[in-house]
Symmetry: C2
Subunit: 141 residues, 2 copies
DNA sequence: TTTCAAGTTAAGAATGATTCCTAAGTAATA
DNA sequence: TATTACTTAGGAATCATTCTTAACTTGAAA
C-alpha cells in the first residue's frame, strides 16, 4: 500500500496511508463522510478537508475510482477492475457487477461502431432499480 | 405540451409550460442554470427556485430525465427514448447515443443473466472521454 | 359566473456539501 | 542536518440546492 502511493509519485504520508487503507477495506462504495467517520476512531486529527482532498488526489492519480449515483451522491470505489454497478434507489446500496462476457460485448460493439473524435477514457454501465425484498441481497444469474 | 403536463395530473401553470417548452427546445442536456437563463428574457419573473422545483417535478412525473455527468453536474434531458450518453470531459458536451442493436444486446444479456431481488428501473450507459479536436463533432460509426 | 380547496409560486433565508486559504508541519533528497 | 517542495489542519468561503411562508392560481364544483 505504501508502494502503491509511492508508485504514483505522491509523497507517502500517514494521512494518505490511513485513508487509502480505509477505502480498500470498505467494499460498499463509501461516501466521503463514511470514510471520514471510519478513520475518526484511530485518527481523530485527520480533518474532513484532508479526506476530501486526498480522495480526489487518489482518483486523479488512478488509485481509486469515483461514482455518482442516480441521485448525484459522490461515492468512492477501490475496485479498479472494469465493472458495472447496480444501484438500489431505496437502500442506496451499490452492488458491483462483473461480467467478462458483458465487457466483451460492449467493447466489441464499440470496436465495430467507431466513435470518432473521442479518446474514450471509460465506459460505465449502471443498472438502477429498487430492491424487492430490502433484507435480501441482490444476486445475479 | 399543455396536454403532456395535464396528462400527469399536475396543474397546468404558465411557469410549467414555459419551463417544459424550454427543456424540449434545448437538445444539449442543459443545467438548471442554463434553463433559467434561457427563459429570463421572456419571463423574468419566474424564479430560480421555481425552475429547480419544476424540473424535479417533471422528472418525478416522467416528463423529462436527469443525468449526472462524471463530474457530478446535474443536467436535464428531454429525450425519453432509451439511449446512451457520450460525455466529453473537456468541452462538457453530452452527445446522445442511440443504437437499437446495443439496446438489444444489453437487455438481451440481462434477460439471460437474471438480476434477482431487483426491480430494474433503467440501465444507463455512459461513455466518458476527451474530444480529440474540440472544434469538430463527435460522430459514431 | 362565482366560490373554494388544493396546489403552486416568488423571494429570500437556510442548509450542507465541497472548495479554498494559509500558516505550520512533514517527506524526500542530498 | 539542511533544503525544498509538498502536504495538512482548521476554519472561512462558496455555491448549488432545498426550505419556508405568505400571496396567488388552477381546476372543479356549485
Ligand atoms: Mn458524501
Ligand atoms: Mn446546475
Ligand atoms: Zn464498484
Ligand atoms: Zn440524452
Amino acid at each position: 500500500m505504501k508502494e502503491k502511493i509511492a508508485g504514483t509519485g505522491l509523497k507517502v504520508t500517514h494521512q494518505r496511508m490511513v485513508i487509502y487503507d480505509a477505502v480498500l477495506q470498505m467494499n460498499f462504495h463509501p461516501t466521503v463522510e463514511q470514510i471520514y467517520e471510519d478513520i475518526q476512531g484511530e485518527n481523530p486529527s485527520i480533518s474532513l478537508g484532508t479526506v476530501y482532498k486526498t480522495l480526489e488526489t487518489f482518483v486523479e492519480y488512478g488509485l481509486i475510482d469515483r461514482v455518482f449515483t442516480e441521485e448525484g451522491v459522490r461515492r468512492y470505489d477501490p475496485n479498479l477492475e472494469h465493472h458495472g454497478h447496480i444501484y438500489c434507489t431505496n437502500t442506496r446500496e451499490i452492488v458491483d457487477y462483473y461480467s467478462e462476457e458483458l465487457n466483451e460485448i460492449i467493447t466489441g460493439f464499440f470496436k465495430k461502431r467507431k466513435v470518432n473524435n473521442l479518446k474514450i477514457k471509460n465506459i460505465t454501465l449502471q443498472i438502477n432499480g429498487d430492491k424487492i425484498d430490502p433484507d435480501k441481497d441482490i444476486t445475479i444469474k
